[in-house]
């Protein structure tokens, strides 16, 4: 019998913020490079997901920048497509495309739009941006892997506001039914959606119990603690025959102290040179 009370206690651990290492700071600078290139971007949403994306690509997923369509690769879906600057930064750094593409973010002839386009960006599996689509696509991909007898895995990052969408829970039911232990849903739980805190707009709690009750094996983790993320992902699957959910407790705009936790940094445009300089200085701390 699952001890939901214990899980909820774990879920409400208060994580002491860990210092960001050199790589996390450099990736954030690439995020800002894209923001400057496009003159806009979902800064806060990208910065909360940097470590999740980084650890998956650096340490967990089988992938090859030279062969984005390699059959045996693990699949990665950024269902919260508006956080794409985090994925673009990692993909550029991994060599999927030149970093100079970030300078053309959202530009007329660029390949990097404000939401990721699978038809344009090497390494992007599905075009996302309309919220709540990723989990169902991920379920289809995970079912396909089982049908083919392939060992590759499917990772899908959702936002927290995003899981207000009912389609997410349709997918969750399907994942449980099909016992997709090759599927991992990661909730970037920064607790701040566009308008206000998630508990104000649409409270998600008890979130761990929700995923558990849909058949998932759930882990809570500090979503900016690289070592903790590695430890968590390295124990996948958490339980045989159950899909996996990782609730990654994050901070919106993490790494830019004056923006952390401020909903007005969800999306930024028309930033002055001075503001950009302030963001870059904050990243260096």
């Amino acid at each position: 019998m699952i001890d939901l009370a214990a899980l909820e206690r774990e879920a409400h651990t208060v994580y002491e913020p860990v210092a960001l290492d050199r790589r996390s700071r450099d990736l954030r600078k690439l995020v800002v490079r894209g923001l400057v290139g496009g003159g806009r971007g979902h800064l806060g949403s990208a910065l909360s997901a940097v470590e999740i994306v980084r650890v998956l690509y650096d340490d967990i997923m089988a992938h090859d920048a030279a062969r984005p369509n390699w059959e045996a690769r693990d699949r990665f879906l950024l269902s919260k497509g508006h956080g794409c600057l985090a994925q673009y930064a990692v993909l550029a750094d991994e060599g999927y495309f030149p970093k100079a593409e970030l300078d053309r973010f959202c530009r007329f002839d660029g390949i990097l739009g404000g939401h990721p386009d699978a038809g344009k960006v090497p390494g992007v599996e599905a075009s996302t941006g309309a919220l709540g689509h990723g989990p169902s696509i991920a379920v289809g991909m995970a079912v396909a892997a089982k049908l083919k007898g392939s060992a590759h895995r499917v990772f899908c990052v959702t936002g927290d506001g995003e899981i207000n969408e009912g389609a997410v829970w349709e997918a969750a039911m399907a994942a449980g039914k099909h016992q997709l232990d090759n599927l991992t849903i990661i909730v970037d739980y920064n607790k701040l959606q566009s308008y206000d805190r998630t508990e104000v707009v649409q409270d998600l709690e008890p979130l761990t119990s929700k995923w558990e009750s849909f058949g998932f094996a759930v882990r809570n983790v500090d979503g900016h603690d690289v070592e903790a993320l590695r430890r968590t992902f390295s124990t996948l699957p958490f339980a045989t025959g159950r899909p996996n959910a990782v609730i990654a407790h994050t901070i919106k705009s993490r790494g830019v102290a004056h923006a952390e936790g401020d909903p007005s940094w969800h999306h930024k445009s028309k930033m002055t040179d001075e503001e950009i300089a302030g963001v870059l200085a904050a990243i260096e701390g």
Partner: protein, 314 residues
């Protein structure tokens, strides 16, 4: 027609292990043989159309060919964003099999009447929209969908529909079928309205008014040449659809004329369902009559237009 369609899907699945079937919560016994013989590729996923489409997209991205089946209104309205983004934007070979197109679910009321399905799907880039006229044509269509590279929508009729198609006329996706040779009138139908158009043409032929009937089984892409090539010979062009007049076959033909033969546009009359939710129940045939879409009513409309309204035939 539904049974024929699903039976062909079963046959395709037996031959091609890329084929998967995804249903919502269909009637007991649906495709039992498929489920028993190929359980790994048979999915009954519950009342969750958004998930059905997303899951089909994920399977298609991995090389499978999903046939997704549920009631027409639900597979269009409920999951329109998934159809647009997951299927059309990614150009995936997912086939939507829509039970009860048009007025089939007459007794169940407006929640179940798929009368704008063709309009909303036609508006999506890369989507192909089919409305076969009978089960024999369905049997010719479905095998050809297997190798289609993009998404498609197959509108099913009621079942037990009069057989009017002929094998010797063949079937090619996107190519309209001339069911009856043109006269001074050309009636363009789709789905079971082609049958009603044929009834009208027979009635009018007895009076010496020759009407051609063109069956537009593929509403998108529209077979433009099939219409444009006949314009010189016809005085009156009539579209008939079991669909709202907003955005369906008549609109497609109207757009074509405005773009490529504007002087012929005044020779077009469009018969269909007005821009209203149905306020009646009964049967499909009763509703077709209510909306003036049965053969004798089509004939009368043509007769009236030819006799009375000189502007229409100028």
């Amino acid at each position: 027609m539904r049974k024929t369609c699903l039976d062909v899907v079963y046959e395709l699945a037996k031959k091609d292990d890329r084929v998967v079937f995804i249903g919502s919560d269909l009637g007991a016994g649906t495709l039992d043989q498929f489920r028993d013989e190929m359980p790994d590729r048979f999915f009954m996923e519950g009342v969750s159309e958004q998930n059905l489409i997303g899951m089909a997209a994920g399977l298609a991205m991995e090389g499978f060919i999903p046939y997704v089946n549920t009631i027409a209104t639900f597979i269009t309205r409920r999951c329109y964003e998934q159809v647009a983004v997951d299927l059309c934007l990614h150009n995936l070979p997912v086939k939507l099999i829509a039970n009860g197109g048009g007025l089939v679910y007459a007794p169940l009321g407006p929640t179940h009447l798929a009368i704008e399905d063709m309009a909303i799907l036609r508006a999506l880039p890369r989507m192909t929209v089919f409305a076969p006229c009978d089960k024999e044509e369905m049997a010719r269509l479905v095998p050809q969908t297997l190798e289609m590279s993009g998404p498609s929508y197959i509108r099913l009729a009621k079942g037990g529909d009069e057989i009017v198609s002929h094998a010797d006329r063949g079937f090619e996706i996107g190519k309209a079928i001339q069911m009856r040779k043109s006269g001074k009138v050309l009636i363009v139908g789709t789905g079971i309205t082609t049958t009603r158009a044929l009834h009208a043409a027979e009635e009018l032929a007895d009076e010496g008014i020759e009407c051609g009937v063109l069956h537009m089984h593929t509403v998108k892409p529209l077979d433009e040449d099939a219409i444009l090539s006949q314009l010189d010979d016809v005085e009156l062009l009539v579209t008939v659809e079991e669909h709202t007049l907003v955005g369906g076959l008549g609109s497609a033909v109207g757009d074509l004329l405005l773009d490529k033969a504007p002087r012929a546009a005044s020779r077009l009359i469009r018969l269909g369902i007005p821009d209203l939710f149905s306020d009646k129940y009964g049967t499909q045939d009763e509703l077709l009559e209510y909306y003036g879409l049965q053969g004798p009513q089509i004939a009368q409309r043509i007769r009236d237009t030819l006799n009375g309204d000189e502007e229409k035939v100028a």
